[in-house]
Assembly symmetry: C2
Homo-oligomer: 277 residues x 2
């Protein structure tokens, strides 16, 4: 059962308008997160990011954040029989519009909430990643900092990484600096310092990324948001990914280089587990 | 009346699946062009580009190019009463998929064809454009060379240009070179030479762009596909836009600088009119 524009509905009966700008132009936003035993993890943070994104794109909210939260809880409740852990997705598009790029003056946005059984797309002990040089993050667009429906670069980079035997792609930006994974933020650790690329390098401000930064700092590690050349990841002592579905995940191999799970990753991972299990 | 997945249907009855990856991830392609008195302009070239894009994205065609052409002709015929000039759009998405980035092993792509009355979004005597610095084209992604559903940068750049009193945005890439408009290719002319940015600068290989290059060359102008720094457009004697809907259109103002329609634009525009009116 999903939520579409104001109520619960069976997916077979749900209809997205062929003139929806989400479908035609990628004109919208989404959020994904998990719910455990009916409780969505970091829902407030995801709603904050969604609302900020909607403001940046001038997409009016069909209902305010508490109304979206209600829809999320309704969908989770309706799908609770599926399992303990659900993957939840909120999709907000600008809704139908007339032909052409310019948004309608008075849009009727589409709000879709769905939930399914959570299946970890990653090996739970750690991931293997490779730099996919041919897909760069666009640090020159403010949309790289929003979770928009324009996700095809991530799709293609992820597929390319998997074709070469890896779980995840590492994307550089056009300046050649490390930006992120196809669906994750990336951290490197070296001698008690934890570093991750700044948002301005074409990075999505991940909810789990924020959690990792705060929790590492509170555990006494020095934390830096700093541009990282591609070499930094090979020279690091440890590296890990963060994502709202699979949480904090050590990188066990980057290209041909093996890695051990390091102390910072272990500490942050434990802190994350404490709030998500 | 539109075409959706194998037949004509009233738009009110047409349904895009909420699990369609075109809606959820921008995972698809589109083409737009005009039809005059029932005849689509450069249909073969648009179908070639669509099929090449589908190959690049590994989206299987639900029907081969002649079948798509049939759908296009059926939609045009069904909407012929709307007027002499129609704007036609083909949308091809990867279709519904399970949760997650990775494409389904056996996709059922969505093919949508629609047509509406053509309304020129531009002043017919020429356009005013401005460099929108804050949205850069991503020359580091092969998807910048495909007409994917991920079009939100174009939407936002176009809206920003119009807020500042212009008809069109000029987008630079991350290297600071001119790439294109939000929905057009761009040409500059200087002393008998016509220049346009190369595809590798983050440029969509426009059908009208190709026409303009060929027709200028056959008219005896020297034609160059070459990276153009932002200054090049101000130093040019003339500049124009190309697009499959509004054709060849002189730029009459760039930022605060007025331009006259120049001889190369006039010649190319006349050549384009000969095939599209």
């Amino acid at each position: 059962v999903i939520w579409l524009n104001g109520g619960l509905i069976a997916p077979e009966s749900a209809r997205i308008d062929p003139a929806d700008r989400g479908f035609l132009l990628g004109d919208g936003l989404f959020e994904t997160f998990i719910a455990i035993d009916g409780g969505p993890i970091f829902l407030a943070e995801h709603l904050d990011r969604l609302c900020e994104g909607a403001r940046a794109l001038a997409i009016p909210l069909p209902v305010e954040a508490p109304g979206i939260a209600e829809a999320v809880h309704a969908v989770i409740a309706a799908n609770v029989a599926l399992g303990r852990r659900l993957a939840v997705r909120i999709t907000l598009s600008r809704g139908p519009g007339a032909r052409g790029l310019l948004p309608p003056a008075d849009p009727s946005p589409t709000l879709l909430v769905s939930a399914g059984v959570y299946r970890n797309p990653m090996p739970s002990t750690g991931a293997s990643a490779t730099i996919v040089n041919e897909f760069r993050r666009n640090e020159g667009s403010p949309l790289a900092r929003l979770k928009t429906l324009c996700y095809l670069d991530g799709v293609m980079a992820c597929a390319a990484a998997q074709r070469s035997g890896h779980d995840e792609a590492i994307l550089l930006n056009n300046a050649g600096n490390i930006a992120c994974g196809s669906r994750a933020n990336i951290f490197v650790g070296l001698d008690g310092v934890l570093a991750t690329p700044p948002i301005s390098d074409g990075v999505l401000p991940g909810i789990t990324r924020s959690f990792a930064l705060k929790s590492a700092a509170s555990l006494g590690y020095e934390v830096r948001e700093v541009s990282l050349p591609a070499e930094a990841i090979i020279e690091a002592r440890e590296a890990f990914l963060t994502n709202s579905l699979f949480g904090v995940l050590p990188l066990r191999r980057i290209g041909v280089t093996p890695f051990e799970e390091g102390p910072i990753c272990r500490a942050v991972r434990n802190a994350y587990r404490a709030v998500s299990e």
